[in-house]
Symmetry: C2
Subunit: 237 residues, 2 copies
Amino acid sequence: MQEKQHIASAFDRDLESIQALILKMGGMVEAAILDGAQSLADRDVEAAEKVRRGDKAIDALEEQLNEEAARVIAIRAPVSRDLRVILSVLRLAASLERIGDYAKNMAKRTSVLAELHPIEGSDAALKRMAREVQNMLRDTLDAFVNRDPGLAHEVLLRDQEVDQMYNALFREFLTHMMEDPRAITACMHLHFIAKNIERMGDLVTNMAEQVIYLATGKMPDEDRPKGDTTAYVAQPE
Amino acid sequence: MQEKQHIASAFDRDLESIQALILKMGGMVEAAILDGAQSLADRDVEAAEKVRRGDKAIDALEEQLNEEAARVIAIRAPVSRDLRVILSVLRLAASLERIGDYAKNMAKRTSVLAELHPIEGSDAALKRMAREVQNMLRDTLDAFVNRDPGLAHEVLLRDQEVDQMYNALFREFLTHMMEDPRAITACMHLHFIAKNIERMGDLVTNMAEQVIYLATGKMPDEDRPKGDTTAYVAQPE
């Protein structure tokens, strides 16, 4: 009996160290989102370069998490709930890695946008989107640590706001491009950035669903409304 | 000794059923890529709708794979190599699910593109890209089944061709839009599709890297050349 107790707490310690890694990774990704958006708004190529370089550390942390998780599974042979936690953490880490990639891509486009004429209003809108996604990510990580499905559910709903911001920007960019062909290149890059932030929101949403699954054992209903409707836009309104 | 033999072959059977699932999923994703590109080229809204609906089955298969993998880990408690195989399969499944999402998105845009004027040459180019990605995926799955790192390495190299096709299209779309503002909306959607196919290629590349890791125990060198350079394009040439 005492032996079992000992094994259980060793697993708990392992799990805590894995959770600490995911929180560290999450913090780095949050910073990448904000710093990426800020360096874009400032057209600060040097700050953007720092975000790009920082992505390597995020990738390395995901590798470390994968190895650590494999090690824990191998030596502790967890089952049921414990195993579910570890497999969920791996999926969270994979989503974080992808969000980091999108932040890197945003930073990458800063250098070319620095050479082009700014598009009125777009920087502020992109920064708002990025800040909202970063807030959603922070709350998702909190919901994960506290196994709080309610907070994770709120995140799911908030993703619609991000989608709406993206829809508005998509139409704005189309209008800009039609009015002024010289704005086309800048709008294409800005539009990509907007889409990438919208995708970050989708990834955070996936993470929040994982957290709900982890806390309740069930995935949330699939039929929550989809916010990005631009795939159907034939003309800007 | 006999007991151990028995356990080992039970694991092998489990592993085979997991591999069969991933191959089934891979086949469905290959079909989604080809059918998505074909229905786009034909502006066949009904065929596109079928691709969209088919994505649910791909998602369900990923869920099934996750559950099956968790079950096998729980009852067989695999270590070292066996565990690595199962964790790799989960990552392959996650990549397949994302490729399926991109195919679904391509199909989604078919209905709006059916209402717009076609952009000369773009359909054939997108079909070529899609076919190349599907070939890469088929070879990656073959390399997985046969644990063939050589074939997986070839896939890594071929992704550059996909990137180059995307670069050429990106410049073409910019030129079209500047020459004719009425082409802007169609070009925006087509460009998204091109970018999504390019991302499918990146995901297949990630899968090929996983296969190499699985076959050799090492990830391939990180510094293979990146083919998509459009983040730096300020003006079409």
